[in-house]
């Protein structure tokens, strides 16, 4: 009798302690979606908690597919995705859903080979690796682009996303743009039919899988490769130069982008000498008419902060902030959110 009572009391006390841990007037705003921007978003939400103590933004990185689905179902207050929502899906929304671009990032092609070697790869080679046509690291096509680099005679283990992913969208957007066979066999999307490879859950899962598997190759947002000391390749761009994913090359790519009014745009295979070819922007998905006025107000305040102060933190995590002209257009859009 005592034990059950004690345990019950313990649970309730723990709950109370936890609940009383912060001011009980605190509001929780929930979001879910892309793993691509998770590092910068989690930094933003952590910092914003210091700016406004009365609200906490709880973001779960479950993948862009999840972000789109949950915001459509209205089980979260905002979504996040780096694949733009299709017209079909937008039509399903129970209100006008806005795409708010926040930052741009690079999709790094990362691999696990002994030593710290930097490889140069062009788009068509990558296509054939992911199609399973190139199966060994010392294949002539890879060796040809990397003279002087010693390539081991081991199998290439392809790793892709097992969940609905905006990172996949950006990556396959690029592959489809440069390769007709890829476009026809697999196409572009947040989830595609992969000819070969293992599935990892989230950017974290792919990075983890590549890290654990010798000979693996995968695609992840740049920060995941950097934070985990994974090697990544220089990719050949439209001008024929091999470009490394970096803050500068992403900035060059987004500078060349043409952005329509609804802010859904692609920036892969961007033209420009220094542009990195596999880059993309990521959006927060927010309803224009916010049903909950208190939450809506907080969301708008956060968005304004993110698009001004938040942008300043992006470079430290190797995300490119939006160009000034684009930022102003986005802020104007945010002004139209009603609550």
């Amino acid at each position: 009798m005592d034990l059950a009572k004690k345990l019950g009391n313990l649970a309730v006390t723990a709950m109370m302690l936890g609940l009383a841990g912060k001011a009980s007037a605190q509001m929780l705003i929930n979001g879910a979606g892309a793993t691509f921007p998770y590092p910068i978003y989690s930094k933003w939400f952590d910092e914003y908690a210091k700016v406004d103590d009365s609200v906490r933004f709880n973001y779960q990185s479950i993948g862009s597919g999840g972000g789109q689905k949950q915001i459509l179902a209205r089980t979260v207050d905002f979504g996040a995705s780096d694949g733009p929502m299709s017209d079909e899906n937008l039509a399903k929304a129970s209100g006008k859903l806005l795409h708010i671009p926040t930052v741009a990032g690079a999709v790094a092609v990362t691999y696990n080979l002994p030593g710290d070697r930097k490889l140069k790869l062009d788009g068509l080679t990558i296509v054939d690796i992911f199609r399973g046509k190139i199966t060994k690291w010392n294949d002539a096509r890879i060796a040809g682009q990397n003279p002087g680099v010693e390539l081991p005679d081991i199998d290439i283990v392809v790793v892709h996303r097992s969940d609905g992913s905006g990172t996949t969208y950006i990556f396959t957007d690029y592959l489809s743009a440069i390769s007709r066979p890829w476009q026809e066999e697999s196409g572009k999307g947040t989830a595609v039919s992969w000819p070969v490879g293992l599935g990892g859950k989230g950017n974290e899962g792919v990075a983890g899988q590549v890290k654990q598997t010798p000979g693996a190759i995968g695609y992840v947002e740049l920060i995941y490769a950097l934070q985990n000391k994974l090697s990544f390749a220089d990719i050949k761009n439209t001008e024929g130069k091999y470009i490394s994913p970096s803050l500068d090359s992403i900035t060059a790519a987004i500078a060349a982008a043409k952005v329509p009014d609804d802010f859904r745009f692609s920036m892969v295979n961007a033209s420009g000498d220094d542009a990195y070819p596999i880059a993309g922007t990521t959006w927060l998905l927010v309803y224009q008419t916010q049903k909950d006025p208190t939450k809506g107000k907080k969301i708008v305040e956060f968005l304004n902060w993110a698009l001004t102060k938040g942008e300043e933190m992006a470079p430290s995590l190797d995300y490119a902030p939006l160009p000034k002209s684009l930022r102003e257009r986005v802020l104007a859009q945010v002004k139209e959110i009603t609550f």
Partner: protein, 326 residues
């Protein structure tokens, strides 16, 4: 239970005892009955929820869902065959590993072990059954998989590489890895049920065999195991039921690739894993409905397996053998 035994007291004296409360009785009984029947309600609830969610997919794909081998969310073509295959193969691997070990251990515990040795082993097995699946997954990723990838799999490929079972690249994450971890997880349940079954074999059987001059092993083989055959089979089927539904450890170790491959070293995908990975992200209605249908298949298969197991166990050891906490 005796139903109506209401007595009345205190008719002769001043002491007026109130008659037993009929209202209280009826209320309590009804309440308890509702709670008891909740079991049936829950089963219907689960079945109905899954059926309703799956109906779109059922109507769209028909029986082809179970035989289709393409799982393509972009084209919205969904076929469950790779997952059915993955679930069956990983469970089969687990059984092949776990069943001999479990039954041998049960034999050891009931027939051979002195009590001082028996009790600690039983305790350890009970502790093993308390370890959550996610912890096995964690251990699997950082301890088992590297060991498999660096030691066991290359060895298997060297010795048996001519078999299609062990061909193909060595990722570590694979059907075999998932099967091994599932085996570890179902060892306790098969062992403990087998033990109950063996315990329920009447001593008379053993004594008769001893009386004929059999050695201990012969007694076990002739008198105990053959008597308990059906019940032991039930224990195995129960283990199978548990294996079919394993989610977390499998998701973390199987490679998540919806493809049917002959090699055990290839990655795979199971019914439970695809739900875990993709349920919160299915963007289209048909996609979500297909996942509901996968859940329905899983639900159906595990129910049938468990029913079969319960029937087999009950037929040997009687209804008491299926303990509440297993």
């Amino acid at each position: 239970m005796a139903e109506t035994l209401t007595t009345t007291l205190g008719v002769t004296d001043d002491a007026q005892l109130a008659p037993p409360s009929k209202v209280g009785d009826r209320l309590f009984k009804s309440l308890a009955m509702v709670m008891g029947l909740s079991v049936g309600v829950l089963i219907v609830l689960v079945g109905f929820t899954l059926w309703r969610g799956a109906s779109m997919s059922v109507h769209h794909f028909g029986l082809g869902f179970l035989t289709g081998s393409k799982w393509d969310p972009v084209q919205e073509v969904f076929g469950a065959l790779p997952f059915i295959y993955g679930t069956l193969v990983s469970s089969l691997i687990a059984l092949v590993i776990a069943v001999p070990l479990s039954i041998a251990t049960a034999v050891f515990l009931t027939e051979l072990a002195p009590p001082r040795v028996r009790q600690p082993i039983v305790s350890v097995i009970e502790m093993l059954s308390a370890v959550p699946s996610v912890i096995f997954g964690l251990w699997g990723i950082f301890v088992l998989i590297p060991w498999l990838r660096m030691h066991l799999f290359p060895w298997l490929q060297k010795l048996f590489g001519f078999l299609p079972l062990f061909q193909g690249p060595n990722y570590g994450v694979s059907m075999l890895a998932a099967g091994i971890v599932i085996a570890i997880m179902i060892l306790p349940i098969i062992t403990s049920i087998s033990r109950e079954i063996l315990r329920s074999v009447p001593d008379l059987q053993r004594e008769a065999a001893y009386g004929l001059g059999a050695t201990r092993w012969e007694v076990t083989r002739i008198a105990v195991l053959s008597y308990a055959k059906r019940g032991l089979f039930g224990a195995v089927v129960l283990g199978l039921g548990r294996a079919l539904g394993e989610t977390m450890a499998v998701t973390m170790l199987i490679g998540n690739r919806p493809e049917i491959s002959a090699s055990l070293l290839a990655p795979g995908y199971t019914l439970a894993s695809v739900i875990a990975n993709e349920f919160s992200e299915a963007t289209t209605d048909l996609y979500l409905s297909a996942l509901f249908e996968i859940a329905l298949v899983l639900f159906g298969v595990t129910i049938l397996t468990n029913i079969l197991a319960q029937l087999l166990i009950a037929s040997t050891a009687g209804p008491k053998a299926s303990r509440a906490i297993q």
